[in-house]
Structures are given as C-alpha cells and as structure tokens.
C-alpha cells in the first residue's frame, strides 16, 4: 500500500512568508512522491491550523504528516498531539524547520525558498520510512531537590512540602535566608523583612517533609526527568549537630574576630566559629577554617573547652550524601555588582561611599550599627546623603539591562534616611522605574516628603572642594538633564545602588544541571513568556533572581510557579519519554562486542548462550552511538534508523542530482539498509 502524505507549510504570520515563497514550496511539495495533500496556512500551530490537519487526516485518509514551520523544539509536541487526535501515530509525523534555520537567518528570498524546498523534501522522504512507535512511560520519583535557600528556594520547598511531598533543600551558606535575610524594610509597604521571612525559615527548618542541608553543595547530578541521582557534598561544620543546642557560647568565647563579607556585607564582624545571624536556621554554628586560630596555628580550641555539650568536633569530615529525586528547582539567586569596577564613584577609596547591601545592614536594627545611620567612623550622623541609581545597570560598559529593584529600594532608603535622621536626600536617577502595585504611589509619597530627585547619571564623586561649602564633603557631579546644566552636590554620605548580577559560578552550575545561560549570564528559561520557570532540560526548573533581576513578590510568584509545575509532574506519577532506543537484531549480530564497550551507559551486554549482544531498554538513552558503530548493521536506532536518515539525505539534496548522471551513482546509493 502506498502512503498518503500531507504536507503543510506555515507562514508564521510573516516570519516565514516574508522570506520564503510559501505557495511555491507547497506547490513543489505536491510533486514529491506519495504526497496527497499540500497546503500553506498563516498559522499552522493555531487551533484552526491544527483542525485543517486533523480534518485532512480523517477525510483524505492521510497516513503520514509533514509540517514545515518552526523548530521541532517549539511545536513538535503540538503537531504530534494533532496527529494523535486524528488517529495517526504521532511518530508518523516529521517537522521541517524553515523558520529558525531558514527564514530568520537570511533576506535572500530565492535561496531561502530553495532551502525550504530541500528541507521539506528531506522530511517527505524521511517520513515515508518512519515507523509507528509507542511512547515509553517512566515513573516519577516524588521527591524534589531545591538548590538555594533564599526566599525563592524556601517558598518553593514549603509549597511542595505542604502538599505532602519530600523536599531536599540544599544551601551553600551555614543558614538559609539568602539576601532577603539581610534586608531591613521591604518596599513599598515598609514591613520588616525579617518579620515576614523568619517564620518561613523556621517552618522550612521544622517541616517534617523538608530535609534541610545547609553548608552543602550539589556535587553531581545524573539521570533524567523523574529519575535524577544527585550527590550532595555536606561540608564539615566541625560541630556535631546531634549534640549542639545552638546556645552560642562557642561564638562568645571565640577570640578571633573576622570581617563578615556575606551576611553583614563587609560592614560588620563575626567570629571564626559563627552562626551568620541571630535567627539563623539551622541554629548550629560552623567553624571557618580559614580564620580559626586552631586551624591556622594548631593552638586555641577554646570553643571545644567551653562547649557545654561537647559538640565541637575538629575531626569532622566532609560527607557525600546520595539523593534520588524526580525534579529539581534551581533558586541560586544573584550577586551584587562590585562598584569598585566603577572607579569614578570611589567606592573603597572614599570611606563614606556605601553599597546598598551595606546600607541595608546599617538600617537593620540587628545590624552592626543597631539601625543607626552613621558614617564610616561609626558616630557621625550624616546631614546629607546622595543615592546613586543604576550603578553597573543600564550601562553598556557593564550590564545593559535594568536591575529592576534599585529605583524602589532607593526610594525606601530615602524615606528611611529622612525619617531617622532628617538629612537631605538627593536621588540621582536616569529614569524612575516604579511599575508595580503601590510602587508609583510610593514614589509620589517620597516627592511629597521632600526627597530631591536629580535626573542624570552621576558622572563622578570627588573629595576635592571647589568652594568653602564643599569643604570636607563628598561632591557628586552630575548633569541635571531637566535643568540642562552641570550640578555639584556636596554630601556627607553616598549610597550606591549596584546592579543585580548572575552568581559568578552560574555558568558552572548551569553546566552541571544541563541548562544554558543568556548573554548576561542568567539562566535561560524554556520560553520567555509561556514557560518562564521551565528550562530546556525536562525536570529542571528555575525560580527567582538566578533567571534575571526581580523583586520579592515576583520571586515568590516564580517559586510558587516552579513548585506547581513540579507538583503537576509528581501528581501525574508517570512521564512520557520518547521511544528513541536502540535494538539489536539477533540474526544480524555477529557477536563482535564492539558496541558493548562503546555504550556510555553500559546498556549493552553480551549473551554468552546465544553469542549475541542485547540492549537493556531501561538503561538505553537512545544516543545511537552503537548504531553508528555496528559493523554488521545489526543495531536499529528507532526513529533515527539508517534508512530514515539516508532517505533524509536524499531528500535534502533533491536539487543536486544531475539528471543523466544519476545512473552512475546507483551503486553508491546502495549503502545502508536501516
């Protein structure tokens, strides 16, 4: 029985049809062997487009389907579903990528049309030898790994745990909490960050379904959706958590004081044995071996002597922990742009230039200044403060993107400075960006409260006075673009609002979990609009600022979305995998065992009784390396058989045959049966 193939060419609005003569391609397709129906339509993926296909399958008795449109990574599943609905096996469908690989990469209409024809011919030739296949189902492991214990990770973990599923929450630092635990008040409501975060941290620490692994890092991950095997490296705390009560005596007695670069953002101190902050979850401290006197000099061990429960253990070793999970949520957060890179602002040179995170710690009642706004000397209260927006954001030399939250937290700073000190506050901004519920209202409130707004990127900060009034001050030089002139504003203190940047190791983390980073270094989502928390790797989701700058409400929304995506997979129980596997035809196998050692998953074994090799289907991932290597051509790679690929090659070069000379190549064509 000959096949009846339906070919559909998509215009994709004008995305394809502007560069490809779609009706010419459809006309060409009609001339290809076994093609019964050939049409072009504005949007094949629309419900109308899909109905056209379904109707043709039913009414014209189509047995194979080709759609030439976008990348199969975009809409393969859409058209497979359409084929299934009309009663056709979804693996009798093939897609030609004439958008990403063709119409979007050239303006040459003649070349693009010819290439589209070749790609359609390739699919038509290939689809003729495709075989109906049944998808493989695998069970989903109901546990989830959440990487990162900031607000995104905590929220996602709690959502999953509350739904009754086990979560492993892995955090690199000694405590969960992340950046949100450093903040004082949150905009625009001015509610205290710790007051809303600590209850969640506490719940995450106590929840029977959450296995909290702090001071730990993911070492390796293998597997696929539903079945990931993860190894987590639990770093040694040198504190036995089974004995420690978190009393804090070790910390009080420790003689070594260290600048706290993480939680206090460099503004305050901690000890060499420390718990990062009072409400830390878990409460157990860690010993920082880089600074601990015992680890540096071999003497001290005061903490060991003072500990009432003998919980200090200098012999503790790092422990690897193996986990099995079905899904992973990455919530690894952001890093703050280092303003030393912008030398003109003098951060690090002028003591009274602060970063936003330092200032958050200063504002915080539990911070190093107990909430008092003071200059670097720790005593003097500033009479005037400049806040500089967009430090390292919206700047082509550093980060072109807008960091989204700086305008709002700068307004919050302005309000808190005026409330606490009565100082004059000058905001240097490029544009005020306050989209969000009650955000614009907060901006108006600040204008009414008397904060000064100077529209213009600050050019530099200097300490050289030009007049008596500038004596002993930091002078912010900026062009006020609304007045159209240069201004010099002398102030006592400057707060910089630096960009949110990807974590410095985001690339390695992405590599570990098999996801890409965009040009700015943030993790790439599957689709910027329609799949914002999914990634190109099934079963791996992203939430929060590791995907791009965002504020707390948006982060929490994403974390919830990621958790709900995971829940929907868990509740389904099974996931459909593509039936792309290798099989060995016993009759053809010579038993040479070349394939046995080639398989990266050790899925091929040798049957001593029958003297042939066989593939363990459950372990095979379908890469096809063995298929390519078999000297007897005894291995079939389903859906990517040699016959299918050979046909595809013939089709893709349909226009390269030289008529009369075709006879002479018939021998060369004979190669490859499957």
């Amino acid at each position: 029985m000959s096949e009846k193939i339906g070919v559909y060419i998509c215009h994709c609005g004008t995305n394809i049809s502007a560069t490809v003569d779609v009706s010419a391609v459809a006309g060409f397709a009609e001339s290809l062997p076994d093609v019964k129906v050939s049409r072009d339509y504005k949007f094949m993926c629309s419900s109308v487009g899909q109905e056209i296909i379904e109707k043709d399958i039913k009414e014209s008795g189509l047995t194979r389907l080709v759609v030439a449109a976008c990348s199969p990574h975009m809409h393969e599943t859409t058209f497979r579903a359409a084929a299934s609905r009309a009663g056709m096996n979804p693996y009798l469908f093939e897609m030609s990528n004439i958008r990403e690989h063709n119409s979007w990469i050239t303006d040459d209409i003649v070349a693009a049309t010819q290439k589209a024809k070749a790609l359609v011919a390739a699919s038509v030739y290939r689809v003729r030898s495709q075989k109906p296949l049944e998808p493989v189902y695998v069970n989903i492991h109901p546990e989830t790994l959440v990487v990162g214990g900031g607000i995104a990770g905590i929220h996602a973990a709690l959502e999953l745990a509350d739904a009754g599923y086990k979560v492993h929450l892995v955090e690199r630092e000694p405590s969960i909490g992340g950046h949100m635990a450093q903040l004082d008040k949150t905009f625009p409501t001015l509610d205290c960050s710790a007051c809303i975060l600590t209850p969640k941290m506490f719940s995450a620490g106590q929840h029977p379904n959450i296995n909290l692994m702090t001071y730990s890092e993911v070492q390796s991950i293998r597997g696929f959706i539903g079945n990931y095997e993860v190894q987590v490296r639990q770093k040694q705390r040198y504190v036995n958590t089974a004995l420690c009560t978190g009393c804090g005596i070790c910390e009080q007695k420790c003689p070594k004081k260290v600048v706290d670069d993480v939680h206090e953002a460099g503004l305050g101190y901690r000890k060499a044995v420390y718990s990062p902050f009072a409400q830390a979850v878990p409460k157990f401290p860690v010993i920082d071996t880089k600074n601990c006197l015992y680890f540096k000099t071999g003497k001290c061990r005061i903490c060991e002597k003072e500990c009432p429960t003998e919980a200090i253990d200098f012999e503790q070793k790092e422990t690897p922990v193996d986990l099995k999970v079905g899904n992973v949520i990455l919530a690894t957060g952001y890093s703050l742009f280092d303003p030393r890179r912008l030398q003109q602002y003098g951060y690090g040179r002028y003591p009274n230039v602060f970063t936003s995170l330092e200032f958050e710690r200063m504002l915080n009642a539990s911070g190093p200044t107990a909430g008092r706004i003071v200059m670097r000397d720790g005593e003097t209260c500033p009479e005037s403060v400049a806040i500089i927006h967009c430090v390292g954001s919206r700047d082509k030399n550093y980060n072109e993107y807008c960091s989204k939250v700086c305008c709002m937290y700068s307004l919050k700073f302005a309000h808190l400075i005026m409330e606490k000190t009565g100082a004059e506050v000058y905001n240097f901004y490029i544009d005020m960006r306050t989209p969000g519920k009650k955000y614009e209202e907060f901006y108006h409130r600040l204008q009414e409260e008397g904060a000064h707004f100077i529209r213009g990127r600050a050019a530099m900060i200097m300490d050289t006075p030009f007049s008596a009034s500038e004596e002993g001050k930091l002078i912010v030089q900026a062009e006020d673009t609304l007045l159209g002139r240069q201004r010099r504003i002398p102030v006592d203190m400057v707060v910089l609002s630096p960009a949110m940047e990807p974590r410095p190791d985001a690339k390695e983390i992405g590599k570990l979990f098999g996801l890409g980073c965009d040009a700015d270094g943030f993790f790439t989502e599957r689709h910027p609009k329609l799949a914002p928390v999914s990634t190109m790797t099934d079963g791996i989701f992203i939430a929060g600022t590791c995907q791009g700058p965002k504020d707390i409400p948006e982060t929490v929304a994403q974390a919830g979305a990621a958790a709900s995506r995971v829940l929907s997979i868990i509740s389904k129980g099974k996931v459909e995998l593509e039936p792309i596997k290798a099989f060995i035809e016993k009759e053809l196998c010579s038993g040479c065992r070349i394939c046995n050692t080639l398989c990266p998953y050790n899925a091929i074994s040798f049957d001593e009784a029958e003297k042939v090799s066989f593939v363990n289907e459950a372990v095979c991932k379908g890469c096809g390396t063995c298929v390519a290597a078999c000297p007897s051509q005894a291995i079939v790679g389903s859906h990517f058989t040699s016959e299918q690929l050979m046909s595809e090659i013939e089709g893709i070069l349909f226009d390269r045959k030289e008529g009369a000379e075709q006879e002479t190549v018939s021998i060369a064509k004979g190669g490859g049966k499957r």
Partner: protein, 148 residues
C-alpha cells in the same frame, strides 16, 4: 550566477541544533548554504551518512556536537571526533579535500559559533569549487607513472 555550495549539517539534538535555533531566534544572518539533519547525538553520525551526502551532491558536510565534556550522552561527541579524523583521512584517499568535512562544537547558547562556522565553511567551499562526486569515476582515468 556565482557558485553556491550546499553543506549538509548533522546537528545533535541537544546543543548544536539548539545553537542553530538560537542563531535564528537571535536573527543572526549567515550563509543559507547549510541544510540541517537532526540526530540525537553527533555519535550517531555514521561515516556512510557523510559519503552518502557527497554521493547525493553535497559540497561539504558539517558535523556539530556539544563541547567535549558537555555531551548529553556523556561522550558520544568524542566518538564522533574519533570517526571524524578517520573519515577525513579516508575522504582524502577518495580525492575529497579534507576541508569538505568539518566538525564544530557549539553549545545551545553559541548560535554565533555555529553561524560563524557556516560562513567560514561556505567561503572555503566556494574556493574549492563544486565537488560533483556523484558524477562518479571519470570514464578515462588519467594514468600516471606512479600507478602500478
């Protein structure tokens, strides 16, 4: 009309095919001479596929995979690399210039890497001229003295 070579590309599903997708979504303009065949892994590319492409009229073949160490299937790309070197050697014995078979590693975020290679390969092939391997062996083989 100037000569436009045709390159058949075997792109792995996970990195290089997505790199080509990204080049498209980023509207990077490059030579439309590449015609892509998707394989699950560059390790799936049989030497026969490459010879088949030449015999069907391709002027060049580009094999593209994930970077070493980043293969979705652990090390299929390394198998492809081994075969690639042997294949190039064999191609030269067939009288096919080795630059007509090329290999590129392009991760899913490297649309530009793929596009650049297609551009440079197109230029190389233009300089080499059409292959016309399908025309088969000429009726009269030029006999040189070295041939026994």
């Amino acid at each position: 009309m100037s000569y436009e070579p045709v390159i058949v590309g075997f792109l792995c599903n996970w990195c290089s095919y997505r790199a080509a997708d990204l080049a498209g979504t980023s509207r990077i303009h490059y030579a439309p001479n590449l015609r892509v065949i998707r394989v699950m892994c560059s390790g799936r590319v049989e030497p026969q596929f490459v010879l088949k492409a030449f015999s069907e009229g391709a002027d060049g073949v580009l094999i593209a995979g994930c970077h070493p160490g980043e293969c979705h299937y652990v090390e299929g790309n390394l198998k492809a690399l081994r075969r690639f070197h042997l294949l190039r050697k064999m191609a030269e014995q067939f009288g096919i210039d080795k630059d007509r078979i090329q290999l590129v590693w392009a991760s899913a975020s490297e649309g530009t890497v793929l596009a650049d290679r297609v551009n440079s390969m197109t230029l190389t092939l233009k300089a080499l001229g059409p292959l016309r391997w399908q025309s088969g062996v000429p009726a009269e083989i030029p006999v040189t003295e070295e041939v026994h």
